[in-house]
C-alpha cells in the first residue's frame, strides 16, 4: 500500500534530478531550489551520521565502562567551536593542530613507502631477457616513462650547458609521456562523467518514474524556453527601433 510518502519520494526523485539539470539551460529558480535543498539536506545528513556514530559506538558503551581517553577527546573536541567566537578564536587552533599533526603522523611514513619506495622498486625491471620481445619492450617503456616524467619536474637545473642539455632532452620525452598520460586520463574522465549521467537517466526511466519524468520535464522546459524567448522579444524591439 503506497503511502503518501512513497508517492512524494517518486515525485521528488524526478523533480530534484530535473531541477539540477535545468542549470545546463541557464541559472533559474528550479536550479536554485535544487542546489539549496541539496546543500541543506547534505550538510545536516553528514552531521547526524557522525552524531549517530558517536552515540552508538562511543557514548553508549561508556554507560557501562567509562573510557577516559574518549572523555578527554570529547572535552578537547569542544575547542573546535571557538572558531566562531572572535574573542577566543585562538583556542580553535589547539584542536586543529592536534588533528592536522596526527593526520600527518599516521600518513607520512606509509605514504613514503607506498607512493615512493614501492613505486621506484617496481620500476626496477629487466630491460631484456624477460623471454618475450613484448615483455622487454614494455619494461623499457615503463622505465623510460617514469624516469623522464621525474626529470620533467626537476626545476633547479637549467636546460643549458653540458649537464643541463641532456636533462632538457629527457624532460622533453617526459613532456610527451605526460601528453599520453593525460590523453588516457581524459578518455576515462569522459567515461566517468558519462556513467554518472547515465545512472541518473536510468533512475528517471524506471517504470514508476517515466510518466513523472515526461510531465515535469515538459513543464520545466516550457518555463525555461518561454522565459528565454520572452527575454529576447523584450530586447529585440529596441534594436529594430529607428
Amino acid at each position: 500500500m503506497a503511502t503518501i510518502w512513497d508517492d512524494l519520494t517518486l515525485f521528488l526523485t524526478v523533480w530534484g534530478t530535473l531541477c539540477v539539470y535545468s542549470y545546463t539551460f541557464k541559472d533559474n529558480p528550479f536550479w536554485k531550489w535544487g542546489t539549496n535543498t541539496l546543500v541543506g539536506g547534505y550538510i545536516a545528513y553528514s552531521a547526524i551520521s557522525n552524531i549517530d556514530y558517536m552515540a552508538k559506538n562511543v557514548i553508549n558503551p561508556m554507560m557501562t565502562k567509562v573510557n577516559w581517553v574518549h572523555v578527554a577527546a570529547i572535552l578537547v573536541g569542544f575547542l573546535w567551536y571557538f572558531r566562531f567566537w572572535k574573542k577566543y578564536y585562538y583556542l580553535y587552533r589547539y584542536a586543529l593542530a592536534i588533528s592536522v599533526g596526527s593526520g600527518i603522523g599516521i600518513t607520512l611514513a606509509k605514504s613514503v613507502s607506498s607512493n615512493i619506495i614501492k613505486q621506484v622498486a617496481s620500476t626496477m625491471l629487466p630491460l631484456y631477457g624477460t623471454g618475450t620481445l613484448r615483455g622487454d619492450f614494455d619494461n623499457i617503456v615503463i622505465v623510460v616513462s617514469v624516469l623522464s616524467v621525474m626529470t620533467y619536474f626537476i626545476f633547479t637545473i637549467a636546460h643549458e650547458g653540458p649537464v643541463g642539455k641532456p636533462i632538457g632532452w629527457i624532460s622533453k620525452v617526459g613532456r610527451w609521456v605526460l601528453v599520453i598520460t593525460f590523453g588516457i586520463d581524459f578518455g576515462n574522465v569522459i567515461a566517468a562523467r558519462m556513467s554518472l549521467f547515465i545512472g541518473t537517466v536510468k533512475t528517471l526511466m524506471l517504470p514508476q518514474h517515466q510518466t513523472l519524468f515526461a510531465i515535469i520535464g515538459t513543464v520545466i522546459m516550457i518555463y525555461l524556453v518561454g522565459t528565454e524567448l520572452a527575454k529576447r522579444r523584450k530586447v529585440a524591439p529596441e534594436i529594430t527601433a529607428p
Partner: protein
C-alpha cells in the same frame, strides 16, 4: 561577408548539444539494443583473484562511495555483493561490510534490502555476514580498526554487539581478514593504512576516473585487482550471470561515447576548415 556555414557551426548554442546528448542517451532505454561486450583483462584478473581465495575466507567488503558516485558504481556494488553471497553460500566465505563515509551506512543497507539480506527480512543476518555501518574518523579510525576492531566498532549498524554476531567470532584485527574489497569514488586510504603496515590483500572497485591513477599500484602489487566503473560492473555481471543495472546502462554508455567522439571530430574539421579559410 555573410558568416560561412563553418563559422555558424562553431557558434552553435551549447544547449542544442545538450539536447542531442539527452536524446542519444535516452534512446537505448526506449529501444533496447544490446551490443557484444568482451571481458577485459583487468576484470578477469579481478574475478580470478577472488575465486582463487580458499574456502572459508573472511572478506571485508569496504564501502567508500558517495551518493553521487553511486550512479556510476551501482552496477559493480550490487554485482559484487551478489557474488560474495554466492561464495558465502557455496564456499563458506564470511562477509563483513563496513562504510568509510557518511553515505556508506545507508547505501549497503539499501543493497542488502534489495537482495533480501536485511535483518528485518531474514534470520540469516549475522551468521555468515554482517554490516558494521559507518565508521567515522577517516584514516585514524582505519588504524584503530586494524589494531582492534571492537575498539572502533563495538556494535554493528543496527546496534547489535559484535560478540552476539557469529560471523565475528575470532575476528579481532585486520590480520584475521583474508581479503578486503574496497569500492570507492573519491580515492582510498586503505593502501597506506592497511596494505603497507599489515600486508592486507586489497582489491579495488573504482570510478573510471581513478583507474589510470591506480595502475601504478596494481603493477607494484599493492592492489591485487581493479574493477573500473560502469564497464567493469557490466562485465562482472556478465561473468557471474547476475545481469542487472550494468547491462541496462552499458548500451547508453556506448552511445554517449559515440556522441562525444563525433563532437570532437566535427569540431576539429570545422576548426581546420576555418583556419584554412583564414576565418580564425
Amino acid at each position: 561577408m555573410a558568416e560561412s556555414i563553418w563559422t555558424k557551426m562553431s557558434k552553435i548554442d551549447a544547449r542544442w548539444l545538450f539536447l542531442f546528448l539527452w536524446i542519444v542517451v535516452l534512446a537505448p532505454f526506449i529501444v533496447s539494443i544490446s551490443l557484444p561486450m568482451k571481458i577485459s583483462a583487468l576484470t578477469n584478473q579481478w574475478y580470478n583473484y577472488l575465486n582463487d581465495m580458499p574456502d572459508g575466507s573472511v572478506v571485508l567488503w569496504s564501502w567508500d562511495v558517495s551518493f553521487a558516485g553511486w550512479s556510476e558504481m551501482e552496477a559493480s556494488g550490487v554485482a559484487v555483493t551478489k557474488l560474495l553471497r554466492k561464495l558465502m553460500e557455496e564456499r563458506d566465505f564470511r562477509i563483513i561490510m563496513i562504510g568509510h563515509r557518511s553515505e556508506c551506512g545507508p547505501l549497503p543497507e539499501i543493497v542488502l534490502k534489495d537482495l533480501g539480506m536485511h535483518p528485518d527480512q531474514t534470520a540469516e543476518y549475522g551468521k555468515k555476514y554482517c554490516h558494521l555501518g559507518y565508521m567515522a574518523g577517516g584514516s585514524v579510525a582505519m588504524i584503530n580498526f586494524a589494531k582492534d576492531i571492537r575498539s572502533v566498532m563495538p556494535v554493528d549498524w543496527w546496534g547489535t554487539p559484535l560478540d552476539d554476531l557469529p560471523v565475528m567470532d575470532g575476528i579481532n584485527t585486520i590480520q584475521d581478514i583474508d581479503l578486503c574489497i574496497y569500492i570507492e569514488s573519491g580515492g582510498t586510504a586503505a593502501i597506506t593504512q592497511w596494505v603497507i603496515p599489515y600486508g592486507t590483500k586489497l582489491m579495488l572497485c573504482s570510478v573510471q576516473g581513478n583507474v589510470p591513477g591506480q595502475m601504478p599500484n596494481l603493477q607494484a602489487g599493492l592492489i591485487k585487482g581493479m574493477l573500473g566503473g560502469l564497464r567493469g560492473g557490466a562485465e562482472l555481471e556478465k561473468l557471474t550471470g547476475f545481469l542487472g543495472v550494468g547491462n541496462i546502462n552499458i548500451t547508453a554508455f556506448s552511445s554517449a561515447h559515440l556522441v562525444i567522439m563525433a563532437f570532437i571530430v566535427l569540431a576539429n574539421i570545422t576548426f581546420f576548415i576555418r583556419r584554412a579559410r583564414r576565418e580564425i
